[in-house]
Symmetry: C2
Subunit: 207 residues, 2 copies
DNA sequence: TCAATATTGTTAAGTTTTTCACATAAATTT
DNA sequence: AAATTTATGTGAAAAACTTAACAATATTGA
């Protein structure tokens, strides 16, 4: 079974290999990858093995071939359409973030309850919340980013769950559990910052 | 040794306990916590033990007391001053995000190279990049959030490193390694989304 | 007061993840 | 063409993390 760590490592391999590719490299060794990403070379080989990525003994791995395999694993054959629920500052920033496109992710719409934020002619458009269910069904949306205020997070998850959506990337500070039908991954920026503060303060204490 | 997972769990305990506190609860049992957070009760007790949080056999844990201890562990006695490097859409959204304050985190300034974004009278102010080093030293800043474009990420880390800052929360897609002097935690939103897409697609395949 | 009960604290067991170590195989050199 | 070198692929070992189990003990109720 693959776990979250393995997939995130695979994405790191992909980033590194694409970089090496632009530099003109054709081949890579597990040792090169392990040096840059600071993990052991045997973990790189084990990951590759688990994902069915093979190399040549003595010859290393062919970068083009691995990148193709990784895209196969990640299912990058079709563009992934994603919607943003809650177009506050963070939601708007993510809607307009340019980094998704080159990974085959397209933000196709935002939704908000505040009429002043609605802009049906925008690119992507911002529609009213009461269009969420229809839009998700009509456009076969499987993934959304949730950036609503904490107070309405629970209600929003219930609403989304009822639409049959498959995954929510949750930026609210409320931590939600996944179910068999709906995967919810939580990103808590405040916790990430608090964790960093803790580590830095501990480091200072040791000195 | 404490690791990242333990601290993030501690923050989750804190959130839950604060919620229970507002509901009027005085005591909590490890079972209550484990049910809500979907981890085993023995892990809760083990975490508490590791952090020196003790309860009463049969009586459970006193919420007020645990919350005090957690704040001690996290060093919440003084306000943490944080700066934002790179005031694009995401940087600006984080600068104005209201959720940091109640955790004792204050964004005291933003920095950018683009003159049109500079606003020395803002609250918090946005200053020019060439003031970063002086500001960090004069105000004893230990932590920053980095939301610059990918192209200047490496250069920015070098610049920050030279100021003697202790921690960077890095939102650029470049993954940086920590050193003994500088802790860098990486949040890659695109990877988080790609991982979610992978999981949801796999789930669908199984059906 | 004493027995019954419920929950912590902690050790042992179990599980997952990572690393080690080396046999195997391709490439290079002699 | 044989020997040597250098990576992969992988099974075993180690480390890290989580859960189970239960003894110790505080509380409740008879």
């Amino acid at each position: 079974m693959t776990n979250k760590g393995q997939i995130l490592r695979l994405l790191n391999y992909k980033n590194l290999l694409k970089h090496l590719q632009t530099l003109g490299f054709k081949k890579v060794f597990s040792d090169n990858i392990s040096d840059t990403l600071e993990i052991s070379s045997s973990l790189v080989r084990k990951d590759f093995g688990n994902f069915g990525i093979t190399g040549n003994r003595k010859g290393g791995y062919e970068i083009d071939s691995i990148l193709g395999k990784i895209d196969d694993i990640l299912g990058k054959d079709e563009i992934q359409k994603v919607v943003v629920i809650g177009v506050g500052r963070i939601g708007e920033a993510l809607m307009k973030y340019q980094g998704f496109m080159k990974e085959g992710i397209q933000i196709v719409a935002g939704f908000d309850i505040d009429p002043s934020r609605i802009n049906t002619e925008g690119n992507p458009p911002v529609l009213h919340n009461d269009k969420i269910a229809d839009f998700i069904k009509e456009n076969d949306i499987k993934i959304c980013i949730m950036t609503v205020p904490q107070m309405v997070a629970k209600h929003t998850v219930d609403l989304l769950s009822a639409t049959g959506i498959g995954g929510i990337l949750n930026f609210t500070p409320i931590k939600f559990q996944s179910t068999a039908e709906l995967t919810i991954n939580n990103i808590n920026i405040v916790h990430e910052l608090e964790n960093l503060i803790y580590v830095v303060n501990k480091q200072k204490d040791k000195e």
